[in-house]
Symmetry: C2
Subunit: 199 residues, 2 copies
């Protein structure tokens, strides 16, 4: 069936157009009619591919998460120590966490509209499972260094600590971008993270 091909192509084209619209003008600039015009299909056709615009936004956000992961994996990964971690190994684990936080700041600064869309959206609705799985997967990048620093914690506790670290960092980054004092906040962020990690 060439029909399936066309549907798949449409799906990709719609995500492309939505991503471009969000990246250019923000989430609120995403309009069903503009999308239909951009990809050259009818208005109703969108709803034969996605149940609603929320689902489309979620796909765009998934791409943003993937883009972010590519940015994250550019930071050097700490080798996994065996047994008790030496003080030097602990230092590199801390440094990895700090680099992750700084990478988060840079990503938010480079893709402000995409990044805002990640948090502006979900506020009301519950998220589908496949999206949560992706989020949990990304949290592993934080949990790995924590495994070195706090081998005494159980997985559940370590996951909670990772979320705490992330949300504190997110708060700092979020405010830093709002106030447009990013230049000032990179060293501040480094300092703060180093301190928080001291737990």
């Amino acid at each position: 069936m060439r029909n399936d091909e066309r549907r798949e192509w449409l799906r990709a084209a719609l995500i492309d157009a939505a991503e471009a619209a969000i990246a250019a003008e923000g989430l609120s600039a995403l309009k069903a009619r503009d999308l239909a015009r951009d990809v050259g299909c009818a208005l109703g056709t969108i709803y034969t591919v996605f149940p609603d615009l929320d689902a489309l936004i979620l796909r765009v956000n998934l791409r943003t998460l993937a883009l972010f992961e590519r940015a994250i994996t550019a930071v050097p990964i700490a080798p996994e120590p065996e047994g008790k971690a030496t003080p030097a190994e602990r230092d590199t684990a801390v440094e990895t966490l700090v680099r992750l936080a700084v990478a988060y700041l840079h990503f938010a600064a480079e893709h402000p509209a995409r990044w805002r869309a990640l948090f502006q959206h979900r506020v009301t609705h519950a998220l589908p499972d496949w999206y949560l799985v992706e989020q949990v997967r990304l949290f592993r990048y934080i949990e790995a260094p924590l495994r070195v620093l706090r081998p005494d914690l159980r997985d559940r506790e370590r996951a909670l600590l990772a979320r705490s670290l992330f949300s504190a960092t997110h708060g700092l980054v979020s405010l830093g971008l709002d106030e447009k004092l990013m230049v000032l906040s990179e060293p501040v962020l480094r300092g703060q993270i180093e301190i928080v990690v001291g737990a």
Copy 2:
């Protein structure tokens, strides 16, 4: 003129109704037609009192900030030490910061819809001056203990540190409420704040 009285009464009634709607069902439940019906005026009358619904929401948020301030002032204020602070005075300053953070958590937990409206709204628009002034005023509650802990900083730097502390706390609280593990996060929050304050 009884006309001015009526306008003032309408203004208050509209803010009341908007506040009730937001507190009950969230920001997205605020509808111009519902407001008009609730206060018993015509749809267009709203726009003779406020330029648009954004301005009305801002007024509701101002009330939320006032409500929050009343919650904040319930925490014991640290007396201002003169000259160099003793270690005990430093401890009470830290304790004040922690209590402020916990009060923030409790306020967000008790008034989730009002609290969300504070941050869900401004995302796009620029805020009017009188609103920013109110925000800056509330930040003084954080800056006061910081004056004890870091007398070496200039006002500008201290204000920045206050905003960093707030945003980190906000991140923790925000995530804590989303995941509904508030019970778990109160001790966590205490610990995190104590550590961050160690700067």
